[in-house]
Structures are given as C-alpha cells and as structure tokens.
C-alpha cells in the first residue's frame, strides 16, 4: 500500500552526509546519517502515527520530546520519532495509535 502524503520538510542545509536506507511500513525510505526518524519521515511526506480517535494523521508537534505525538515502532520498540536517530536497515512501523 502506498501511504498518503502529508506535506513535507524541506532540507536546506547539511546535505553532504552518508545516505542510508530504512523501511517504513514496508516501503523503502532514504535518509542521511544524523537525521531523526521524524525528519526522515517528514522529508518523505509521511506521518509517524494516526490518532486513536479517528481525527487523522499526526506528525509530532514540539520536536523536543514534550508532546508525545510522534510515537511509533522502531525495530519492534516504541520510540519517539523526534528523539530517535535513523540507522541503516531500520524497520519502522507507523500508525501505532491504530494498532495499540
């Protein structure tokens, strides 16, 4: 399934870093070493989670670990996307709110 896209971050600096690949819900997504999971998802137009209450996708809000609105599953563990750095081969599952 191809995800809907929810607008995107814009990379304006620090483009000269090693590229790596991870999968997000089975789709290959490219990122650079030093990106947070949230940055990588937002650059790809993706959102980390879906509200449990049926009001749509959430893509974080504070980017500093306070709002708790960017939790997802990284290699089977629940993590905050804004406080987790990408690694090569990382397996990310979004939509945590939907699946409990």
């Amino acid at each position: 399934m191809t995800h809907p896209r929810y607008g995107s971050f814009d990379r304006v600096a620090e483009t000269d870093r090693r590229a790596l690949r991870m999968t997000v819900d089975g789709e290959a997504v490219a990122a650079l070493v030093g990106d947070t999971v949230l940055t990588a998802l937002r650059l790809a137009g993706l959102a980390p989670r879906v509200s449990e209450f049926g009001d749509g996708a959430r893509a974080g809000f504070c980017l500093m670990g306070a709002c708790q609105d960017c939790w997802l599953a990284v290699d089977g563990r629940r993590m905050r996307a804004c406080a987790t750095y990408v690694r090569d081969g990382m397996v990310i599952v979004t939509g945590w709110g939907e699946t409990g």
Binding site: G7, D55, A66, D69
Partner: protein, 455 residues
C-alpha cells in the same frame, strides 16, 4: 560531613552553570539530561558529521552557545554525566530514570531542577494536522537537522521567538510565507519604553523585524489564527485580522507559539508548592530569592522555574548552586552574590516588560470556537469542556479532566492546560486562579511497561 550527593536535571544554560559552580566548589554532581549532548534547546548541538558553524546556527548568540558548550565539556571526568536519560519521577530523596528502555534509581541529598521550557500554544482548528509545529520545534528542525518544517512556512503567534525563528529560516534559505504577530503595532509601540531595559535584546528583535520586511516577507500585525486551510496537509492559514476580517495566507507548514511556559512536572511531583502569577497567568513553583523551592534540598533554576530567557538562566543556575553550597555549609562569596543579583535585576525588568509586550492572547483562547480540538492527545473539543461546565457544574481543571479527559493524555496537559484553563474560567465565570492547575502524575512522561532495572 561528607560531600552531599547532588543531582542536576537538565543541561541547558541553567543546568550547565549550576554544575560548573558545584564542580568549582569541590562537588562531583550527577547530571541527567534528556538530550544526547549538553546545551539545552536554545544551544542545542547538531549531530556528529554536521558542518555548519556556531555562527551559522546561532547568529548573534554564537559566542554564548560556544562558551556554554566549552564550559560543560571542560567538566568531563569531574561529573557523572548521563545524557539521553529521562527522569520520570521524584520520590522523596530519589529520582527514577529511564535510558534506552532501562530503568535507573538515584539517591540525592540535594537536587537542582533546570528543566527548561516549552512553547505556550493557543489551539486553533487544524492544529493537529501534520505540518503544524511549535515555533520551538520549527527552530529545532533547522538548528538540529538543517531542515525547514515546510517549503513555505507560516509563522504565527507572539513573543521573541516569532521573529527570531522566521529570520533564522529566511537566512538559511528556507521559504517564509508570512509572519503573523498576534500583537498589534500600536500595542508594541506602547511597550517600547519598558522594553528599553534590555537594550541589546530589543535591538536584535527590531533588527529581525526590519530584516524580514526589507527582504519582502509579509508581516501581519494584530491578527490571530482561526483555522488551518487544507484537509490532510497544510495549504494555508485562515486568520482574523485586527479589524475582525477573515484573511487567508497560503503556505505548506505552520509554526506557532505565544511565548514559553516552564516545564514544572518534576517540581510538582517532588511536592514543591506553586503560586498563581497573575502577570504570567500561570502557576509557577515557589522559590525564595535564590532558587530554593518549598521542599528542603530541592532547588529550581532557569526557565523551568520562570520564563526569563537564556541569559537569566545562566545566572539563576549559578545562583541556585551557590544557595545549595551555602545550605551545605560552604562559605558564601558576597561579592559574587552581589554581581549575580545586579545582573538578574536588570534582566528581570526586561523579562517583565517582555511579558507585558507579548501577552498570551487569553481572551481569544477563552473565546475559541466549540469545534477547536483543545486536547490533542485525547481529541477533545472546546465545546465538550463548555458542556461539562454548563451541564455538570465543572469548575476546576482536575474535575474537567475527570469529566472530559482533557489533559489526561500522554502529554499530561502540557499543550492544552493553559488554553483549557482560560476556556474553563471564562465559561464558569471564575477567576483563572480558581480553576486550579493539573495535578502532576508519575510518570512525568510515558514509560514502556517493559522497562527493566539498571543502576
């Protein structure tokens, strides 16, 4: 007497200066910080491998950022530094922590909480859509990741961060669609004489506004956000201008905030007394003139005690450490105490002027439409809170939580309680102070049930 075991929570400007002062006086504190590197949010360091200079990232504040980083780095080997570690509660003389899924338990004789601040927000329709972030978050994306939150970002809100972050975006080559300032031009002019107490900070603020205008950025003053345009992604922002007319600004991301508020959950869990501050329209932890809380052995410093900015935080951090040292029997340094007092007095006059110049738009918050999702964690609209007041006689924030689930979600009211209190007070006809503040609950932030023990 053996040296007291001291823990400092937070490694921003206040925490770093507190730690430095303790080390200078022979102590070896434990330093616990959520971030992977010291600096706090304002002087946050970029990940390894990034190449921008401090000047690229921090502009006028590059010198301060560099000095703070260097001061902390010089303490390596003299402290027990624990980055990437979250404190989830304070229980008597212990703090309980979590790092990489493993639990920790640390005893203290004295604790300095330098927990910093977060954006103070006013919810509007659509604020939960992907693409809407706090001003602080928009700044983190740029400073820490070299990214803008969108290709044409709309900045809306108030306070010193508004123009600063818009300026930083434009300077970095990111698109700035517009800057929408909740405060009108006339109100700002009236505030100028008092703001003159902070000459250089004021000058920088005026410079950012002038620079943005000179570079063709649209600036709208005296307008407040009403609703995000767009169903799944941000397409723009609908505003109400100062004459009450609806205006729509196009853009693909929104950065919003109306000043900052202190992160006080740990002080609350530690049992510190709070007082209502009518000027800030906030509950603040009580401190004496030197950062002592109402609980013996617990000290508060920086924006986590009261919003006063990074310069003041460096001073209140040192001051709290000096109070702690005095309480544990070390001789005072009256000359240094006087220097700190004088500097802080000057900054405090500017702090008060800023709070006056950039008030939280409490009337607009109180009047938000019933359809606005007030609590983003539990998806509760403002109308549900008003219904609880009318139908159930709800007149207190903690009762509102029980009746409606507002503030019960994972952020624990960090991003809704301020606006919810305004709605509740206005609807019930009570004073803001009378509706209370949300009681803190451990864990201060979510903890996985699988967390295992690790000292």
């Amino acid at each position: 007497m053996s040296a007291p075991r001291v823990i400092v929570v937070g490694a921003g400007p206040a925490g770093v200066r507190a730690v430095e002062t303790l080390v200078t006086h022979g102590l070896a504190p434990t330093v616990i910080d959520e971030a992977p590197a010291a600096g706090g949010q304002i002087y946050r360091r970029q990940p390894a491998g990034f190449r921008r200079s401090l000047a690229d990232i921090h502009g006028f504040e590059a010198g301060r950022a560099g000095r703070l980083h260097a001061a902390f780095d010089a303490l390596a080997g003299k402290i027990d530094y624990r980055p990437k570690t979250q404190v989830w509660t304070v229980a008597g003389t212990r703090i309980l922590t979590l790092r990489d899924g493993r639990a920790g338990d640390h005893r203290f004789d004295a604790l300095i909480l330098a927990t910093g601040a977060r954006d103070r927000v006013m919810p509007f329709r659509g604020w939960t859509l992907p693409g809407v972030y706090t001003l602080g978050g928009a700044q983190v994306a740029l400073k820490h990741q070299g990214c803008a939150i969108g290709a044409r970002t709309i900045f809306v809100g108030g306070g010193p961060l508004l123009y600063l972050v818009a300026y930083q975006y434009a300077k970095a080559g990111a698109g700035v669609a517009a800057v929408i300032d909740g405060v009108g031009a006339t109100a700002k002019l009236r505030a100028l004489p008092r703001l003159a107490a902070g000459r250089s900070t004021l000058a920088k603020g005026l410079y950012y506004v002038a620079w943005l205008r000179a570079h063709g950025v649209r600036v709208i003053e005296g307008a407040l956000p009403e609703a995000v345009a767009g169903a799944d992604a941000v397409e723009g922002l609908r505003l109400r201008d100062r004459r009450g007319r609806a205006v729509t600004v196009a853009g693909d991301a929104i950065a919003t905030g109306f000043g900052l508020e202190p992160e006080t959950r740990l002080a609350d869990l530690a049992g510190c007394d709070f007082r209502f501050d009518a000027g800030d329209r906030l509950w603040l932890p009580e401190t004496d003139g030197e950062g002592r809380s109402s609980v013996a052995g617990i000290y508060l410093a920086g924006d986590g005690a009261r919003i006063a900015g990074a310069l003041a935080a460096e001073i209140t951090g040192e001051r709290a450490a000096r109070a702690l040292l005095a309480d544990f029997g070390q001789a005072r340094d009256p000359a240094r105490d006087a220097v700190l007092r004088r500097r802080l007095g000057r900054l405090d006059r500017f702090r008060a002027a800023l709070a006056h110049a950039f008030p939280y738009p409490h009337q607009a918050a109180a009047a938000m439409a019933d359809a606005v999702m007030l609590c983003r964690c539990e998806a509760i609209a403002a109308g549900a809170l008003r219904a609880a007041v009318r139908d159930l006689g709800c007149d207190d924030l903690n009762r509102a939580k029980a009746f409606t689930r507002i503030g019960m979600g994972r952020c624990q009211g960090r991003f809704c309680a301020t606006a919810a209190a305004e709605v509740l007070a206005a609807t019930s006809g009570r004073d803001l102070a009378a509706v209370g503040r949300p009681r803190g609950q451990a864990p201060a932030k979510p903890v996985p049930l699988t967390a295992g023990a690790d000292q």
